[in-house]
Symmetry: C2
Subunit: 330 residues, 2 copies
C-alpha cells in the first residue's frame, strides 16, 4: 500500500514539475530573440490543456556536440585526442613512418594532414582507436579528458563547454525533456564523460561508431574495437542515427554547422510544435568567429535554411553573457 | 523557489521508491527458487548502504523478446507478419513467382521455406520490409499487430505475452531499473507497440536493423528502408548491440535460447552483483515445451552454461501460475 501512495506522490510531483519551470535559470543568456524563442517554445509544449501540449515522453531534444556544446577550434577535440594518442603509440609502431598521413601527423605537420581531407582524419582515428577492448578505450579516453589542455586557452577541454548550453539542457530537463547528444564524433569518445559534464547518460549519446568484435579472452567475454567504420553520424547520417538509436522524432534540435542541417530538417518536419536552432559562432573575442568559410564546422546552407524556415539563430556574441563556465585566458 | 521544493520532493519520493518495493506484485509466480532468486537479487542491489548496492542509473536489465517476453512458436511472430505481408503484396510482384523461396512462402509451403534456413527467412524479410518509408512501415506493423491472430490459440499475438514477465518488468522498474529489450527481431517491428504492451519506450528497444536512406520527397525529409541488412542483434551481436545502443553493461539479463548466451555472459561478467536468467519452455499444456532439439529458440549450450555459472533457470511449468494475461484456448 505504501508503494502505491509513494508512486502516486511521484507521479503527482512529476506532473507539477513538467508543467513549466520558469526560465530564471538561463542566467547566462541575455534577454533577446534567442532566449525568448526558447522559453516560448517550452511554454507551448508544456502547457497542459494547451493546443500544442506534448506529453513528457515525447519531449526529445537533440544536441550536436562539437561547436554546439563545446568548442571545435582549431581542430575537433577528438582529433586532438587521436593525435596525442598517435604520438604516444608511434614508438611501438615503426610502420607508421611509411604512411605519409600518419608520419605527417606524428611530425605535427597539420597542414599536410588537413590537405588529406576526411580520409586522412579517418586513417588517424582508425590507427589510434582500434585494436583494444572497449574497456581499455574507455580508460584511455577518461585519462586524456582529465588531463589534456587546449593549446590556445590552456583550459581542460571539458572547461570549454558552453555555460549557456549547460543551462539550456538543465532547463529543458526540468521541463520534462530528455536531452540527447547526436554528434558526428565517436560515440565511445563521448560516453565516458557525458554524464559528469553534460548530465547526459551514456544511453542518450548517439554518434559515429566503429565495428567491435565479441571475443572470449581467458574465459571472459570482451568486445574488441576493429579498424572498420560502422556508422558515420553526420549530415544525412544524423536523422538515420536518431531513427536507429532513439526511434522517435525529436521535437527540438540544436546544431551549429551544415552537418546538422538534416537533423534539424528531420526534427522540424514533424507534426505539432517543433523547434530548430543554429548556434552562430560570431564571437572572435570570447570564442571563435566562423561560418561559411571554415573547414571545421562550416555553416553555410544551414543559415540559408534557417532564415527560410524560421529556425532560431543564436548570435553568440549578442546572446551570451558568458561562454565558458570559467573565464578563459586566451 | 517552488521548483526547487518540488524537485526535492520528487528526488525524495524516487529515493523511497527505489529503496526496495516488495515482491507482492509478482503474483503469477509460484513461490520457489526462481522467484526467490529474483527478489533476493533485487534486494541486494537496492539496499542503500549494503555491500552490493547499485545506483539506479546503473540498474539496467535487458530482455530478449521472442520466447522470453512472448511466444515464438510455431514460427517467430515477425515471420508470420512477413508472410502475411508477402501474400498481400504478391499480386503486385509477379517477379516473386520466379524466386523459389518467395514462391514457396506465397504458396504456404513452410517446409520448403524452412529448408532454406536463415537465408530464406532473410529473403522474405527483405522483400517485405524494404522499399517504403519508416513511417509507412510503422503504420503497417501497427495495423497487423492489432488484427493478426495466432493460428493455434486464436489470440492476438500481443495477447501471447507472458504475464509473469510483465509483472517482473513492472517489479524491476518499481525498483529503479531501466528495462530494455535486446532482441534478434527487427527494431522497427517492435518499437511501435513495445510501450503499450511492455511499458518499454522506443528508445529502450534494441534489435536487428536494416539500412535506411535519408531522402527529400516533395521538400519533406523522409527515411526510406533499403533491402540491406545493417546489424543482426543475435548471439555475439547481442553484447555488441548492448554496447552500441546502451553504452553500459547491464546488471541483469533474461533470455530463453542459445541466441541469448553471449548477452548473459557479457552481463554477468561485470563486477559486483549480476543476474542471469534462462526461461526454460517446459509447459506443453499451457504453452510449448522445447529446448535443444528445436529449430526455433534452441536452448542447448545455454542450459549447460547456466548450470556451470549459477544462472537462474525458470522451469515454466513449475514456476508460473499463469502464462498469458488471458487464458488461451488452444
Amino acid at each position: 500500500m505504501l508503494n502505491r501512495v509513494v508512486f502516486a506522490a511521484v507521479a503527482f510531483s512529476v506532473a507539477i514539475l513538467t508543467q513549466g519551470v520558469d526560465a530564471q535559470d538561463l542566467k547566462s543568456w541575455n534577454d533577446g530573440p534567442a532566449k525568448s524563442a526558447i522559453t516560448k517554445f517550452v511554454e507551448r509544449v508544456t502547457t497542459v490543456g494547451g493546443p500544442e501540449y506534448v506529453p513528457p515522453e515525447e519531449r526529445i531534444a537533440v544536441f550536436d556536440n562539437d561547436g554546439t556544446l563545446w568548442s571545435e577550434k582549431p581542430i575537433y577535440f577528438q582529433l586532438a585526442f587521436a593525435l596525442d594518442r598517435l604520438k604516444e603509440l608511434a614508438p611501438t609502431h615503426p610502420e607508421w613512418q611509411n604512411n605519409p598521413t600518419l608520419k605527417a601527423a606524428i611530425d605535427g605537420d597539420m597542414k599536410k594532414v588537413m590537405a588529406g581531407g576526411e580520409h586522412a582524419l579517418l586513417e588517424i582515428v582508425m590507427a589510434t582507436h582500434a585494436g583494444i577492448t572497449t574497456q581499455e578505450f574507455e580508460s584511455i579516453v577518461l585519462k586524456w579528458i582529465k588531463n589534456a589542455r587546449h593549446p590556445q586557452t590552456g583550459l581542460l577541454y571539458t572547461e570549454m563547454v558552453y555555460q549557456p548550453m549547460l543551462e539550456l539542457m538543465t532547463y529543458l530537463r526540468a521541463n520534462g525533456f530528455k536531452t540527447w547528444i547526436v554528434s558526428g564524433g565517436g560515440i565511445e569518445f563521448m560516453r565516458p564523460w557525458a554524464q559528469s559534464i553534460y548530465g547526459i547518460p551514456p544511453e542518450q549519446v548517439v554518434g559515429s561508431t566503429i565495428k567491435v568484435k565479441f571475443e572470449m579472452r581467458d574465459g571472459k567475454p570482451t568486445l574488441v574495437r576493429l579498424p572498420d567504420l560502422d556508422f558515420i553520424d553526420d549530415k544525412e547520417g544524423k536523422p538515420i542515427g536518431i531513427h536507429k538509436f532513439i526511434g522517435r522524432r525529436p521535437i527540438a534540435a540544436f546544431g551549429n554547422s551544415d552537418g546538422d542541417l538534416q537533423m534539424i530538417q528531420w526534427t522540424t518536419a514533424g507534426e505539432g510544435a517543433r523547434f530548430g536552432l543554429y548556434l552562430h559562432h560570431t564571437d572572435a573575442a570570447r570564442e571563435f568567429a566562423y561560418d561559411k568559410n571554415s573547414s571545421v564546422g562550416r555553416l553555410d546552407q544551414g543559415l540559408i535554411e534557417a532564415a527560410k524556415n524560421g529556425w532560431t539563430v543564436v548570435d553568440m556574441k549578442k546572446a551570451w553573457k558568458q561562454v565558458y563556465p570559467k573565464a578563459a585566458t586566451r
